[in-house]
């Protein structure tokens, strides 16, 4: 086979690349999307116990979840003084609260008297002070002690010793990040290229249109890895797109894929089973019909991609009162997905405007919580409306129950439908987990960073 003569990782799907498509778009992509950044990361198998071992899970708790930045909520969750948000990870629980117009703080959700969790709920809340439900100790929003009933018995406490314990907290792109590590380095050190790249397609100027929180029957890594490659699109989604997706790894913390919407490469399917979408290839008219945009007969020379992007600029621009006139075809249409270690995905696109977050469900190695948000652009300078409460789905529920997801409900059911089988299969595997050199390189990068964290 010809592949054996190439350096490992340098082989690509036959046919035009994503970069080729972006270069011919009617409105060109911003510079970060034209960048490619891949180098071979190795091809050894991964131990399946990474997904099933309670010992490995505990190591992750000790060395990853309690040491790394993770977004807990959006700034729009904390609009008024007293608005709070409770974020749980493993045994930890953190309260994030708006203290005054310009200050957001985060605290461990634990009483400084005898440890009781202060706010029992998770997600968004509100109060003008925090009060322990056990003995009634209370704190100001600023974390300082407000009132201790029977104070005469506690001459040995003070604000210095018994204020709420602060957790590092920073914001970026409209997200509030927390880091439980008292010695956390600044957030920017964990973001690689993200701040620079997203300066071209900012996320703060968006609002949460929909938030779905689902329990998945799989280890958090397996669940997020189902979203890190488009290699599965043909088999899992019965979709022609994705076989020629572009994958980039920007550093220890950040990777990306770009997969085109509105066109595809028939050649990239050359060794896929059957002739579907390859011989004959889809016409531009057929490609347009696969998109949720205004339909019309295409004239000679028109492409589905250009017509779909133009239609979205006009129609969605009018609907949202947002000026997309200079927004590239790629940002309008493509599935562009940045991953930030350990568990966060940000999409700068307009048709595919998602945010994902995966984290363990409590201390269960076999289950996780998948937060899916749709972030809709808002007009420049507009205020963010109050965000919707998350819609919660249990393991056995279907995404199609969420009416607002429309056609995406079926897609997310397909994406998550393999997970229980995979989690079960990990436990009986007699060999390691094998990864493609290019298409699954992002998954390998996450495991390499995990290894680096474990060695610290």
């Amino acid at each position: 086979m010809t592949q054996t003569t190439l350096d490992p990782g340098s082989a690509r799907a036959p046919g035009p690349s994503i970069a080729d498509t972006l270069r011919t778009d009617a409105i060109p992509a911003p510079a970060p999307l034209l960048e490619t950044n891949y180098s071979f990361l190795g091809n050894t198998d991964l131990d399946p116990q990474r997904y099933t071992s309670k010992d490995y899970f505990q190591l992750e708790m000790d060395k990853v979840w309690t040491k790394n930045w993770q977004w807990a909520c959006r700034e729009e969750h904390l609009q008024d003084v007293g608005d709070n948000h409770v974020y749980d990870i493993g045994d930890f629980s953190v309260i994030i609260v708006r203290v005054d117009e310009s200050t957001v703080k985060a605290y461990l959700n634990s009483c400084t008297h005898r440890g009781t969790r202060l706010l029992g709920a998770t997600g968004s809340g509100y109060s003008q002070a925090f009060t322990c439900p056990f003995h009634g100790w209370s704190w100001e929003l600023s974390g300082s002690l407000r009132h201790v009933p029977g104070r005469w018995d506690f001459p040995h406490i003070s604000d210095e010793t018994h204020s709420l314990k602060e957790v590092s907290c920073e914001s970026w792109g409209g997200f509030i990040f927390i880091n439980i590590d008292p010695n956390a380095a600044p957030l920017a050190e964990s973001m690689d290229v993200i701040p620079e790249h997203f300066s071209h397609f900012p996320l703060h100027q968006r609002r949460i249109k929909l938030h779905v929180e689902k329990i998945l029957p799989a280890n958090w890594k397996a669940a997020q890895e189902a979203f890190m490659e488009a290699y599965h699109n043909f088999e899992t989604h019965d979709s022609p797109n994705g076989a020629n997706a572009q994958y980039d790894v920007f550093g220890s913390y950040v990777s990306r894929f770009i997969h085109n919407i509105g066109n595809y490469s028939p050649q990239s399917l050359s060794d896929y089973p059957g002739d579907k979408w390859r011989d004959p290839p889809l016409t531009e008219q057929e490609l347009l019909s696969m998109l949720a945009v205004e339909q019309r007969p295409l004239k000679d020379g028109e492409t589905a991609r250009a017509v779909a992007a133009a239609s979205m600029r006009k129609n969605l621009g009018a609907e949202l009162d947002v000026d997309f006139s200079q927004t590239s075809d790629s940002i309008m249409l493509d599935s562009i997905e940045y991953h930030m270690f350990p568990n966060m995905f940000f999409f700068p696109g307009v048709l595919v405007p998602m945010v994902y977050r995966f984290r363990p469900l409590g201390n269960d190695v076999d289950k996780c919580i998948f937060d899916l948000m749709i972030l809709e652009p808002i007009p420049e300078g507009a205020d963010h409306p109050e965000p919707p409460e998350p819609i919660r789905l249990e393991i056995e529920q279907s995404y199609t129950e969420v009416e607002e997801l429309g056609w995406l409900g079926k897609v997310y059911d397909e994406d998550t439908g393999n997970l229980q089988l995979q989690q079960q299969g990990f436990k009986i595997a007699r060999k390691g987990i094998t990864l493609g050199n290019y298409q699954e390189a992002r998954i390998r990068r996450v495991h390499m960073t995990l290894d680096e964290m474990m060695e610290k």
Partner: protein, 106 residues
């Protein structure tokens, strides 16, 4: 048949989605709430420490107490989080034209 004593509480046009209004009727304080699913009414005093929920915040279908942060579902009055454990009483609501009426004698 349960008793019913629907009293005028507010005009629809004065209470947009996301807003609340405290009504005093028959010596009771009742909190009228407008959420995406419609109008609902519950006791205005928190079942935990009797703080006025009208000074709290409505988020989606939750009313949050300003004192300790207890959450209640305004659709049925259920307590959703500590320190509250007891529900709020829930009142029937009827809309007639621009008038919102509350059953103050449920």
């Amino acid at each position: 048949m349960t008793n019913a004593n629907y009293e005028f509480a507010a005009h629809v046009k004065d209470l947009p989605v996301g807003k609340t209004k405290c009504i005093v009727a028959s010596d009771k304080e009742i909190l009228l709430c407008h959420i995406a699913e419609g109008f609902f009414a519950v006791d205005n005093l928190c079942s935990h420490a009797a703080e006025r929920l009208s000074a709290g915040k409505l988020k989606g279908h939750k009313i949050l107490c300003p004192l300790h942060g207890a959450a209640f579902d305004v659709r049925d009055g259920c307590a959703l989080s500590r320190p509250a454990t007891l529900p709020l009483r829930s009142y029937g609501v009827r809309v007639e034209g621009d008038d919102i009426l509350i059953n103050t004698d449920p």
